[in-house]
């Protein structure tokens, strides 16, 4: 259970627990933490997610996730029966990011992959605890009322208290 003041308490004494530090907020990098958190919760694991730096916008009420092929040579999209990476000079052209984002969202839909909105809803439903980094809120000037209900605010000590008694701690 997460209490209003940001302190984290444990569930049943024998229950396994996991924490994930979420530092990236692009459409692609939002997947690993939410997939692992929802699945862990489904497997009976007491799960906590700590959103910091560029991961923090994943707690905004309205998600607007994008990807960029710029500086990402590993991003090879299936096209015309092969896999194509985009040269950096092409990726800098205006509109390329939104085009690539649109393509990715189409692929996600077509392949039966859940949207981040869906996974986040399922995580909340499964009582995954979501902690927003207070320092990042201040740094990037986010307001609590812009963030989803059900998240709490906390800092490094709040995270570490939970991490120290968890079985699995991940940094994404």
């Amino acid at each position: 259970m997460t209490e209003g003041n940001g302190t984290v308490t444990n569930g049943a004494p024998n229950q396994k627990s996991m924490t994930i530090i979420v530092t990236k907020g692009t459409l692609d990098w939002a997947y690993p933490p939410f997939i692992l958190a929802t699945t862990a919760a489904a497997m009976g694991v007491n799960t906590t997610m700590f959103f910091t730096f560029y991961g923090l916008p994943l707690l905004l009420k309205k998600l607007d996730l994008k990807i960029s092929p710029l500086g990402n040579p590993a991003m090879k999209m299936p096209m015309m029966g092969m896999h194509m990476a985009m040269p950096n000079w092409v990726a800098t052209i205006p509109g390329v990011d939104s085009g690539a984002t649109g393509m990715m969202k189409d692929m996600i839909k077509k392949k039966g992959v859940a949207s981040i909105d869906e996974l986040r809803d399922m995580a909340l439903e499964a009582e995954v605890k979501m902690i927003a980094c207070q320092m990042t809120m201040d740094l990037f000037e986010y307001k609590k009322e812009d963030m989803i209900e059900g998240m709490t605010l906390g800092g490094a000590a709040t995270y570490l208290e939970q991490a120290l008694k968890s079985d699995v701690n991940l940094f994404v």
Partner: protein, 75 residues
């Protein structure tokens, strides 16, 4: 016949597992849930899910492109 059937065909990781967990809650203890999926990853995942949660994976079979799992709600 299973007590309930979940059609998870066309869904990708982790949705078959998440839906399975959700539907297991609707199956009485000792009852069975049949899951149909097309995600090849669900074969290993369903076994791991059952081992970890203490539910019994009674059958894991394949018919064409469809994987069929029979789970006994024991946890």
């Amino acid at each position: 016949m299973a007590d309930k059937t979940l059609d998870a065909k066309g869904l990708n990781c982790p949705l078959p597992i998440l839906r399975t967990k959700k539907m297991l809650n609707e199956v009485p203890a000792g009852g069975t849930l049949e899951v149909l999926a097309t995600d090849p990853g669900s074969v290993a995942d369903m076994a791991s899910f059952c081992r970890t949660t203490g539910n019994e994976l009674m059958e894991s079979t394949k018919d064409g492109d469809v994987f069929r799992f029979l789970i006994k709600h024991t946890a």
